[in-house]
Symmetry: none
Subunit: 261 residues, 2 copies
Amino acid sequence: MKSPKDGVQSVSRALILLQELARSDDGLRVSDLARTTGLAVSTAHRLLTTLEQHGFAQFEPETTLWHVGREAYAVGSAFGRRRNFVAPALPFLKRLRDVTRETANLGILDGNQLVTISQVESREIMRAISNPGGQVPVFCSGMGKAIVATWTDEDIKALAERAGLPPMTSKSLRSMDEVFVDIHRTRERGYALDDEEHVTGLRCVAAEVWSPQGEAVCAISVSGLAARLTDARLDSIGQQIRKAANELTQQLGGTPQNHSR
Amino acid sequence: MKSPKDGVQSVSRALILLQELARSDDGLRVSDLARTTGLAVSTAHRLLTTLEQHGFAQFEPETTLWHVGREAYAVGSAFGRRRNFVAPALPFLKRLRDVTRETANLGILDGNQLVTISQVESREIMRAISNPGGQVPVFCSGMGKAIVATWTDEDIKALAERAGLPPMTSKSLRSMDEVFVDIHRTRERGYALDDEEHVTGLRCVAAEVWSPQGEAVCAISVSGLAARLTDARLDSIGQQIRKAANELTQQLGGTPQNHSR
DNA sequence: CTCGTGTTTTCCACATTGTGAAAAACCTTT
DNA sequence: AAAGGTTTTTCACAATGTGGAAAACACGAG
């Protein structure tokens, strides 16, 4: 009967209680919890009070109902804080790589730069262009523009002023006007485009991913040689990225917002 | 040595490990955790694997680091769900963030502490100050004071005695007299102010939100560097928060009461 | 007011369960 | 190949968690 590999019994039970609590919206009584988890009432009670002492559970004396506590919230939100979208994003990146045969990327905004967090490489000959961890000026990056396009115009302006518009190539956006034209097109299209604005010969199509808070947290993109990412393919790829970004958003517990503002 | 009333030892320890994990943004090793919590390495390891089996902790083999797991997030968000004003509040927070360009927060009173439930970050460079789930002594917090100002003087006194007046900074309220002076000003103004009373260099403007039962259930606030939240801007921002809080109240089916009592 | 039935909470003897020292299995690094 | 640093596993022991039963509440009905 004793299974050596189930971990610590009492801890397991306490966690199961927590999950049970989370399942219910308006609280549970000790005896209910004991029944649904198959524990003795006294045991359930003991575990619950332990959880309560640490703030993971909350007891309402007037109604004698148990709820999930603030500390559970605090600890849980640490999970959200962490860049934990990289793992769930991987399958999506892989699929994008497979259908487009180009490199797929995941990036976040860090300060004034866009940094590539994760990347699934194309299998073509010319592939690794920007390596993971690499930083790119926001407005020279498809992913950067995808994220920024969800912001208000004032915020975008402020960021552009802070970050500047370094001319990486001859096609880089050079003026505030050009930026806003591009952002508008991005919002209309539903995906962002970097047409050799960062590196000559390199194109990139990107869409943003939303957090449960309703903010654009990161973006995914497909990048490859302009010679291969032809105008003809561009929109089809754009749609696919948009779709993948929405699905990833959903999986992260967010809802895709509308791009237009 | 055996203290009968500290609950179940192993569960306590597991929870402490979780909190420790939450504290760190980029993961911890077993041995670090063991040291900081004072547990034997093997014990820590056993507890962690138990947490992992239930998804509350996450282990990255390649880097041998432990993180908070998805299940902790799932359970924690049940806490937010119960406080069902967090979703409707989001648009208001976003708007506040957009017009003030500072961080907007939503907080509730939990026991003697004010806990930040939700937050929409400013896009300026210096932003994340307190993370969601964080706790602050009531009287060092704009949101805390906004809520408390709706109470009777006796209730306030009782709370202050229970919770104490921890001097977080040199500007923190230190005496019952100072508390009541501040509360009076808050009631007159219609919004509460935290002028570097929690963290030096940080200001915060807040107003309370009413439930249909006619109780102040939560508060919203805007916080930012004192250097940016200048005296000149303060009143204008205060008015805007007051307005947003009233609108949110309305949307929740409550009616904004009058602050004076 | 008293009894009855539903709770939650406390107690306690017992052995199941969790414990930590130490050893084993892994890694990198030199 | 050896030396430090890890993470895992093992194991003998007793401290720790267990659940039945009893006590303390809380409410409604008679």
